[in-house]
Amino acid sequence: MQRRGQFRCGSCSSHVLVDLYMNYIATFFSHFGAMRFHKLCGRAGWVSKPGPVPRDLSSSCGTCVRYQTGDDFFPCGEIPEELEQIVEASDSGYILKYRARGS
């Protein structure tokens, strides 16, 4: 059975009940970069949630943003400066979709 979870929308602060299924995880060079990305997701109308980076994705202890969307995984078409990588969380594990140059 699909779990359901409550999320706070980044743009209007209202709470929405959605299916809890995260397609993408973005990691960042700074916590604030993650929070900005979270807001961008809200502006794009995407459901997103910031949290600690999963251990099986990285040994880094920074902040990630989990979000769900279609094939276009950059919110509002922007590639923020603080974005380190984006992976798709699939049944077979993590699939790298984007990595910042030199990281």
């Binding site: 700074s30 604030f32 040994s59 400066e81 603080e82 594990g93 030199g102 990281s103």
Partner: protein, 367 residues
């Protein structure tokens, strides 16, 4: 990734962190049994300070010894990172700022007489002065989190050649050789001369460090990260590791106390390598907590990340060592008799300096 699998991963991660914390707590307690100073089975700040003294960076004869635990933590982290293909040489994220932050974190730690790790170890030994330290530490982390949420960033890291990430682990191997060969230019506290003379056998300490380094690499244990994640995300995984350290060290200390005596003494006065000035215990750890949030982790975490190849963390570690040398060369470090006047001035300067670094790297980004 299916939701069920995510929950399984989360549960597995939590189990690993708690199990790791329990093991580390037992090790911290047993190291005292094997010869380390009381309530100092593990203290990253004290051990870096002792190592700095052994290298002649300060002349406090009571605290000079190359601590194998530090060597073990770095190498344990390196070995596990290499085995897990997680060794990642990187750096370039404001290294000098990290050096300065490391410097002042050490000034704060030596005002309190211990790093966040020893704060837990001291609590497990019944030292209630550590509660004042914890209060300051928590407030320091809150202050740091305020800046994180306001835009603080030391800018991005970059991939570096493997050699760059391997320098600190190689230096630790050199330290091990110096410890074993004990040449005349390395300083060792004479027997009965102070905390530096109290230590477990080299192999015991090294093994302990290797285990702790490997566990900390695997679980990302970090005292600062634990509290920071609770404030930011209501996420309790990391803090569970340190709660586990407290519980297991406490139980181990109580057992040893019942069997031998001298491992648990509840109260404020008469605690080993500690003073009873609550205000300066709190302010010292406030500085340490604030600085550590800006660094991205506690001193233990800096060692572990340096072991993974992060040269920015290596800069922070060098900053911690230089801070320790300054603290003892200029009378900034506290003693069992209390904080010094110079130390109080240094902590106030440290808080101002760390606040300035926070402001500059927060509001610059909003321009």
């Amino acid at each position: 990734m299916p939701e069920e699998e995510k929950l399984v991963n989360r549960s597995k991660e939590m189990t690993q962190i708690i199990a790791g914390g329990l093991i580390i707590g037992v090790i911290a307690s047993l190291l005292v049994f094997f010869g380390n100073p009381s309530n100092m089975g593990f203290c990253i700040a004290c051990f870096l300070r002792d190592t700095a003294g052994a290298l002649g960076l300060h002349q406090a004869a009571a605290v000079q010894y190359i601590r194998p635990e530090i060597i073990g933590i770095v190498l344990g982290s390196t070995l596990l990172a290499l085995a897990g293909k997680e060794f990642s040489p990187r750096g370039g994220s404001s290294p000098m700022t990290r050096f300065i932050l490391g410097f002042f974190v050490m000034i704060g730690c030596l005002m309190f007489l211990g790093c966040p790790f020893r704060m837990i170890v001291r609590l497990a030994g019944g030292d209630m002065n550590a509660l004042f330290g914890f209060a300051g530490f928590f407030l320091g982390i809150l202050t740091g989190v305020f800046f994180l949420n306001s835009g603080y960033s030391l800018r991005r890291t970059y991939r570096l050649p493997a050699l760059e990430g391997g320098i600190l682990p190689v230096i630790e191997i050199v330290f091990l050789l110096l410890l074993v060969t004990a040449p005349a230019f390395i300083h060792f506290t004479e027997a009965g001369g102070g905390p530096g003379a109290k230590h477990a056998a080299i192999l015991v300490s090294l093994a302990a460090g290797l285990i702790v380094g490997a566990i900390a690499q695997k679980t990302r244990l970090c005292m600062v990260g634990g509290i920071r994640d609770i404030i930011l995300f209501r996420e309790y995984r990391l803090i569970c590791g340190f709660a586990a350290i407290l519980v297991s060290a406490l139980v181990c200390n109580l057992v040893l106390n019942a069997a031998i005596g001298g491992y648990f003494h509840l109260g404020l006065a008469g605690q080993p390598v500690a003073h009873t000035d609550g205000l300066w215990n709190a302010l010292g750890m406030y500085l340490a907590g604030f600085g550590c949030v800006l660094l991205g982790g506690c001193p233990l975490r800096q060692l572990v990340m340096a072991g993974e190849g992060n040269s920015d963390s290596a800069c922070a570690v060098i900053g911690l060592m230089v801070g320790a040398a300054f603290a003892h060369n200029f009378g900034l470090a506290s003693s069992g008799e209390g904080p010094t006047a110079n130390g109080k001035i240094a902590v106030v300067i440290g808080i101002l300096a760390v606040a300035a670094i926070a402001c500059i790297n927060t509001f610059r980004r909003e321009e």
